[in-house]
């Protein structure tokens, strides 16, 4: 579906069902350089299990217009304006990587608008390696290869996707290479600059689930556990043989960790 936020068209997938404000809503937020399609399985499952779903393309990503936003705080406020545009009083926010930081920040800023939180592939801090930032700024392919190589868990470098016939390496590269110039750098710089996770974590009061990969080299599980410890009542699931892309690497386990919370 198409929404308008800040005068720009925003695209969101609804998992094959119309958004019904009467049902509990779930908003999925993708990570740096990616788009709504990383949530393809979870989107459909929640939409067909009693929720209204918006898997959104953030500004400047996927099919959404506008420029990519430059800070996690700006993205968090934008997410609340997205809820307004969709006519949603409250929603569960489920984010991956950068999207998880957005969800965390939005929950702390607007606690009355967020009923539950799902944080995937996230840590207490998300520093971005200098080479990755420089490559992203220069617009070279290296950043896409680094994000893909370090993002995919060791096991999945040989494949073995749960969804038959799909090859994750090329999926990641294809989505990253589809970005508009500068988008990946803007995203990574926003992640790198964000330092409020610990503070914001202490302010979260809603049910929270963290989904972490034991082989995640981008956001190591140890960092994720520290974030979980900082959120009152949060539950953390560490998925075995899983890297940074748990939604597609271990979709069943990711769903199991999220479904009771969101």
């Amino acid at each position: 579906m198409e929404l308008t936020v800040d005068g720009a068209t925003v695209h969101a997938t609804t998992g094959g069902r119309e958004v019904d404000p009467a049902r509990p809503a779930v908003v999925f937020l993708h990570g740096a350089g990616f788009d709504r399609t990383v949530w393809r399985l979870q989107t459909r499952w929640f939409a067909h299990h009693g929720r209204s779903v918006l898997a959104v393309d953030l500004p400047g990503h996927g099919r959404s217009q506008g420029a990519a936003l430059t800070s996690i705080e700006a993205m968090a406020d934008w997410t609340i304006r997205l809820l307004d545009a969709a006519g949603l009083r409250q929603a569960a926010l489920v984010g991956h990587s950068m999207g998880a930081l957005i969800a965390l920040e939005a929950t702390a800023r607007h606690p009355d608008r967020v009923r539950a939180l799902g944080l995937c592939g996230v840590g207490l801090a998300m520093p971005v390696h200098r080479e990755m930032l420089e490559s992203a700024k220069a617009g070279t392919l290296k950043v896409e290869e680094l994000m893909t190589f370090w993002g995919i868990g060791a096991a999945l470098h040989k494949g073995g996707m749960v969804s038959p016939g799909l090859w994750l390496r090329r999926e990641s590269l294809a989505v990253l290479r589809g970005n508009r110039p500068g988008t990946i750098h803007t995203d990574l710089a926003a992640c790198n600059a964000y330092s409020a996770a610990e503070t914001r974590a202490a302010e979260v009061r809603c049910p929270t689930a963290l989904v972490l990969g034991d082989g995640d080299l981008m956001t190591p599980a140890a960092q994720g556990k520290k974030l979980a410890a900082a959120i009152s009542g949060a539950q953390a699931a560490v998925l075995p043989a899983c890297g940074h892309f748990m939604m597609v690497e271990r979709p069943d386990e990711t769903l199991a960790a999220l479904r009771s919370h969101v």
Partner: protein, 431 residues
């Protein structure tokens, strides 16, 4: 920060898509000879049927052994996903049927496998899909042949039997300017010699029966998607961008993005048309994939020795191989197929149809049959077999002479291959 060190193609040919079986420790890919797979509970069943979770339902749609083959081919072709089919022709058909229905139009190279041409020229028109054929070297012709109803541009990496090489980057650019995908039959090159998706193509298909299987023991096909084509922006593909009642109004491009084409091809194509690959076939083809890089290197090496031999033989009038400098596509082949243009080529024998008959009859090592890409050397006379349905004009347009012989050079000792060819050529000239 350490560089990205992705597994290389030779490694992927052995490992992609598989981990040792978690239940038994089996190192080889097990043959999951099961039509169907038990659901964990009722909700799991419903979720699988609605594409909410990954996994297997019924082997017409997917199977664990076949899925290893699919993922491995996707990895080697650098695609986002693959779908195995019962044959290469089935892959072609599913590829087309996923993109269009009655009223659709295809622009295709004239340099095509005879069975492909039959499907496009004779069969699909009965279902309302028309094709315009264009010389593969006539780039302007491709552009001119595109109509408002066109939904696909189609060609082969290396054509058959003239050895025409399609300028994939140039034709892809023409297709993309018109909002169309380019689909390539990469059977003759295999992903070892050419990966069309890295050159701009959007879909690749194979007769996996040929080099991928490599041993002439199993018929199969496979479709691979690049994951880059913007189906929504094109506006020409309602099958991928409009709600589909078959799965509760799913919009494949919206929900599956870089997997839109292959997901629809699986969810509708093999589900409805039923042309699935059997798990035992996938097992055979996986054995072929494991040695594909080694075999292709030897195929090319042997083919080059045969070409050098034939070039100096007085019984040979003309050789159609882009490996040779006199072939019009030699420079293009060097650019797009730097490791070699394969081991399938044709030549015209002095003495026409009768000399050709004598030559084939006298061969001892070569097998006279309708296949290519086998580990064993093969021979056929296209005018009376693979392209028999073409009249004289169509034969000429496809670059096929009545005395043309097609060879598929195998992996035997090259001295034995040359010896066999030499004695048969001598016999063919004795009248």
């Amino acid at each position: 920060m350490p560089d990205a060190k992705f597994l290389k193609p030779d490694t992927l040919a052995l490992h992609a898509g598989q981990h040792p079986d978690p239940a038994t420790g089996a190192r080889a890919v097990p043959i999951y000879q099961s039509t169907s797979f038990v659901f964990r509970d009722v909700d799991h069943a419903a979720s699988l049927f609605n594409l909410e979770v990954g996994g297997h339902i019924y082997s017409r749609i997917s199977n664990p052994t076949v899925a290893v083959f699919e993922e491995r081919v996707a990895a080697l072709e650098e695609g986002t996903g693959a779908l195995a089919t019962s044959s290469g022709q089935a892959a072609l058909h599913i590829g087309i049927a996923t993109l269009m229905g009655a009223g659709g139009h295809i622009v295709a190279s004239t340099s095509l496998y005879g069975g492909t041409r039959d499907m496009l020229a004779l069969t699909l028109p009965r279902f309302g899909i028309e094709t315009s054929f264009v010389d593969p070297r006539d780039h302007a012709g491709f552009r001119a042949a595109i109509r408002p109803s066109t939904q696909l541009v189609l060609g082969e990496t290396v054509g058959n039997p003239g050895g025409e090489v399609l300028d994939i980057p140039a034709i892809a650019a023409i297709a993309h300017e018109a909002g169309l995908p380019l689909m390539i039959d990469n059977t003759f090159a295999s992903p070892v010699l050419c990966r069309p998706l890295t050159l701009g193509a959007d879909i690749v298909f194979h007769s996996a029966t040929k080099f991928i299987g490599g041993h002439g023991i199993a018929v199969g096909g496979v479709l691979v998607e690049a994951g880059r084509f913007d189906w929504a922006a094109s506006g020409k593909f309602p099958t991928l961008t409009e709600p589909y009642a078959g799965y509760h109004g799913i919009d494949f491009a919206d929900e599956f993005g870089p997997h839109a084409f292959i997901m629809r091809a699986r969810a509708e194509g093999v589900r409805d048309f039923g042309c699935c690959m059997a798990p035992q076939t996938a097992f055979y083809l996986l054995q072929g994939l494991e040695t594909l890089p080694l075999r292709m290197a030897r195929h090319v090496e042997n083919a080059r020795k045969v070409l050098a031999f034939l070039r100096g033989n007085p019984a040979v009038e003309r050789i159609a191989s882009p490996e040779l400098p006199e072939h019009p596509d030699h420079a293009l082949a060097q650019r797009l197929l730097p490791k070699g243009a394969g081991s399938i080529f044709s030549f015209d024998i002095r003495g026409g149809r009768e000399a050709g008959r004598q030559f084939i009859e006298r061969l001892k090592l070569f097998s006279h049959l309708a296949n290519v890409g086998d580990a064993k050397s093969l021979v056929i006379h296209p005018a009376t077999t693979t392209h028999a349905q073409l009249d004289a004009a169509a034969l000429k347009a496809a670059g096929i002479g009545e005395g043309m012989i097609r060879l598929s050079i195998g992996l035997e000792d090259p001295e034995d291959i040359l010896e066999d060819l030499g004695q048969a050529l001598r016999a063919s000239q004795k009248g």
